[in-house]
């Protein structure tokens, strides 16, 4: 709660606008990227390349600038920022962070460089030396170096605590490590820039520029309206379809709160105070300065607002189907409407068990509960699957995309749309994917929290034994929370997109039967069992409570280990050698083999 009472300030208005811009920017940008990622993934699954042809040709000095600038900026930031510390203990901590970053930047650079050398050849003796090892050798050496540096830092930290190492030594070590890190970052940027050949360089960014190209194409295409269409409703349809998808995100929190100091002690929030973020926060402490909730609006009806708004999205599809003056569109619109009505019930009921457990409809308490005990997916796994299915049906995604079933009704309710109106339907669908993923993350995957990350830092406590603790300041925790929320949302929407390329579409009667005869009874059963369970646990003694709390902490531990192992797994996967078998069955294959296979050639003719 804001301590300033009812005083109205411009700062709050500006902050609200900033929050709205963050959410809308996230939704629109990532919906465009999701459209591209969807196509790209489908291609990769079917052993094609997919959209990767969009290119911007830049003169090489601009590309060199793009490579040099971040390296030097980050390097300067690291050299200046990580070197200062107020206590010897903090100095050793910062030295440890710097050393780990040095190792990270080092092995990453070596992996990339070695890979480039293996593909394109070495330019000089240094590169020949680097290229004599495989990229994965550098990665495994880097992993070992991470462990060694971690042990070294822990040893030094203990020595400082015991007084065996002088404070000056600790400060010097921190400064040297930060300067080396800065130098390494700057040098790697400069070296990368030196490798850029002269002339123009085509930048593809792995094909992500296709999103921009598609948007431009949609803007300049003809806006076709059928002759007998209702022009007003035809124009209104895509807007009504897109608007609810965007405003749903208004109540999902993307962070806990940002607490600013009340410097002038007058209770009013002023612009000068925006830079004074509170240094450290105690756990469960109430913000004594100006609290900014990281959520556009904290409604007390919370999730009911989402149910109310998201179900109006179907009106857009229904209106579009009706106004297009096309039988296929009308069928698509009708299918969308009936599907939405059917699955809205199961969707709401599947979450009732969670509300009983969280005992709140607002999102912040839900997220805090999950952080204190266990993530929603561990306590209500059945509800998760039901809600996932229902929300995919709500967003008209495969396998529930009968409203746009190509094999039967061409493209459903947007058959008669082209140009930017079609683009709005498309973007609206992917914004819905993002918002439903955000909802799933908030309800079932701990929202913006990470296991063992609290307002005052990391605290790994299992039962009553503390395994690891690390104090962090308020700003760092908040930034990690925001990144966590958006990262989790992207990961979840990636999974949702993945269903599209795996599952075949249901038949329409199967869809209805699944919704009414399977999902709805299961949701009611889940609610009944959960209600009994909640009452029983409330009535049980403190022994059961302690056991459940311990189980929750174990689930957190499981998730934390998974999060730590994931990057290692991804890098391991990417550096694994390729197993390749050659078939020279056909005469053309034999000829191509003799001629060197696919080869880059200059454009002829």
């Amino acid at each position: 709660m804001n301590q300033t009472g009812t005083s109205f300030g411009w700062v709050e208005v500006v902050l609200a606008i900033v929050k709205i811009l963050i959410i809308i920017g996230f939704c629109l940008n990532f919906s465009a990227i999701a459209v591209w990622a969807d196509r790209r993934q489908s291609a990769m699954i079917q052993h094609r390349v997919g959209p990767n042809r969009a290119v911007v040709n830049l003169p090489s000095f601009i590309v060199q600038g793009i490579l040099v600038a971040p390296g030097i900026l980050l390097g300067a930031l690291a050299a200046l920022g990580l070197g200062q510390a107020h206590t010897p203990q903090a100095a050793i901590d910062r030295m440890g962070v710097s050393l780990q970053l040095i190792v990270l930047v080092g092995w990453f650079n070596l992996v990339v460089l070695s890979w480039r050398i293996h593909r394109k050849g070495a330019l000089n003796a240094f590169e020949q030396a680097v290229g004599s090892n495989l990229p994965r050798a550098y990665f495994y050496a880097g992993l070992a170096a991470h462990v060694v540096v971690g042990l070294l830092t822990m040893g030094l930290s203990r020595r400082v605590a015991d007084g065996q190492m002088s404070a000056d030594g600790a400060y010097l070590a921190a400064r040297i490590a930060s300067v080396v890190l800065g130098g390494l970052l700057g040098a790697s940027g400069v070296y990368a820039a030196l490798r850029i050949p002269k002339g123009t360089v085509g930048i593809r960014l792995a094909g992500t520029l296709h999103g921009i190209a598609d948007a431009l194409k949609m803007m300049f295409k003809e806006d076709f309206i059928p002759k007998n269409a209702d022009r007003l409703l035809h124009a209104l349809g895509p807007m009504i379809a897109m608007f609810p998808a965007l405003v749903v995100m208004a109540v999902t929190p993307f962070g806990d709160q940002l607490c600013f100091q009340d410097v002038n002690h007058n209770g009013a929030f002023e612009f000068s105070e925006l830079l004074r973020v509170k240094g450290a926060m105690a756990r469960d402490a109430v913000c004594e300065g100006h609290s900014v909730p990281l959520q556009i609006v904290d409604l007390n009806v919370g999730i009911l607002y989402i149910f109310a708004i998201s179900s109006t999205g179907v009106i857009g599809a229904a209106i579009a189907g009706w106004a297009s003056d096309n039988k296929f569109s009308l069928l698509g619109g009708l299918r969308a409407a009936s599907q939405m009505v059917s699955y809205e019930v199961a969707m709401g009921l599947s979450l009732m068990g969670l509300f009983l457990i969280y005992s709140s409809l607002r999102f912040n308490p839900m997220v805090q509960w999950q952080n204190d005990y266990a993530w929603g997916i561990f306590i209500q796994p059945l509800a998760f699957f039901m809600f996932l299915a229902a929300s995919m049906a709500e967003t008209k995604r495969v396998p529930f995309d009968q409203p746009e079933g190509e094999s039967e009704i061409v493209a459903g309710y947007f058959v008669e749309y082209s140009g930017f109106k079609f683009g709005m339907f498309m973007a609206g669908e992917y914004v819905e994917v993002l918002t439903s993923s955000a909802l799933i993350v908030t309800l079932f995957f701990g929202g913006y929290t990470l296991p063992f990350l609290f307002a005052d830092g990391i605290d790994v406590t299992i039962g009553s034994t503390q395994l690891f603790a690390y104090k962090m300041n308020h700003l760092a925790v908040t930034v990690i929370q925001i990144l966590t929320f958006f990262g989790k949302t992207l990961l979840m929407s990636w999974v949702v997109i993945f269903f599209r390329w795996t599952l075949p579409r249901f038949r329409y009667d199967q869809l209805m039967k699944f919704g009414w005869t399977k999902l709805l009874p299961l949701a009611i059963l889940n609610l009944a069992v959960t209600a009994v369970g909640v009452v029983a646990i409330d009535a049980a003694g403190p022994g059961l409570h302690a056991t459940l709390k311990l189980l929750g902490q174990l689930s957190h531990l499981l998730v934390a280990i998974g999060i730590l192992l994931m990057p290692i797994g991804i890098v391991w996967l990417f550096l694994r050698p390729v197993e390749s078998t050659r078939f020279l069955k056909s005469s053309s294959a034999r000829f191509a083999n003799a001629a060197g296979g696919v080869k880059p050639t200059p454009m002829q003719a």
Binding site: Q41, A43, M44, I45, H47, R48, V49, N52, R53, W115, R119, A206, F385, F498, F499, W501, T502, L503, L573, F574, R576, V578, S580, T581, R582, F583, L584, K585, S586, S588, A589, F591, A592, N593, A595, G596, G597, V598, K599, P600, T601, M603, Q604, A605
Partner: protein
């Protein structure tokens, strides 16, 4: 010839019907509960996705022809990457030339006659008075090929008695802006080279009067 009535493709009247019992698809719990199958499918697509993404990013992409029977990305980034054409690939036509730079074509109209697409147009011309070739052979005043109509069958090359037209340039028809640009004239066709970079052919031309000329010509009879 009499038809053996006992061996018909349809079932003879009164013959016993034989049936084959086909087992019903299993409807056990794993299939009916749907979720295990979904998990299996997701594992399948995800493994393909990760494998292909990795091989794409790291440049370990397999050659689509050489690896045609194994899994992996099979797209070529044309035009940066090209597949080598076989030596027998029929590309755009060219008119071969003699040592003095004139076309080998003698305007016999064999190619335009055999052309199934009727895309070759030749106007024959007589050599000037006093030219040793006059009355012996003619030359093409116009030699036009509509490359849009051409079906690249190669009949013209086979029909040519003088090795004057060839399709060994290794070039595609280029995507031009208008149809007129696809109509190639004599000078353009004579400008193309074969894949060896030569505008001549390996087959020597024996002009009348040369030592190597085998048969009758105007001056001498063997």
């Amino acid at each position: 010839m009499t038809i053996d009535q006992t061996k018909t493709w349809t079932k003879p009247k009164g013959a016993q019907t034989t049936t084959k019992v086909v087992a019903r698809p299993t409807r056990d719990f794993e299939v009916q509960s749907y979720l295990p199958a979904v998990a299996k499918g997701l594992a399948q697509t995800m493994s393909a996705f990760f494998k292909n993404t990795k091989e794409m990013i790291l440049g370990q992409k397999k050659d689509p022809v050489l690896e045609s029977l194994s899994w992996g990305i099979t797209t070529i980034s044309y035009p940066e990457e090209k597949r080598p054409y076989t030596d027998r690939f029929r590309g755009l036509h060219r008119l071969t030339i003699r040592d003095d730079g004139s076309p080998r074509c003698v305007a016999c109209l064999c190619c335009s006659t055999v052309c199934p697409a009727q895309c070759i147009h030749i106007e024959a011309g007589e050599y000037a008075e006093g030219d040793p070739r006059r009355g012996y052979e003619r030359y093409p005043k116009k030699f036009v090929i509509d490359e849009l109509r051409c079906v690249f069958c190669g009949f013209c090359v086979e029909a040519c008695p003088c090795d004057a037209i060839r399709m060994d340039t290794g070039l595609h028809a280029v995507p031009y802006d208008s149809r007129e640009q696809f109509i190639y004239g004599k000078d353009l066709l004579m400008g193309f080279t074969g894949r060896d970079g030569s505008r001549l052919t390996a087959n020597p031309r024996h002009e009348p009067g040369d030592e190597t000329h085998p048969g009758l010509d105007r001056e001498q009879a063997h």
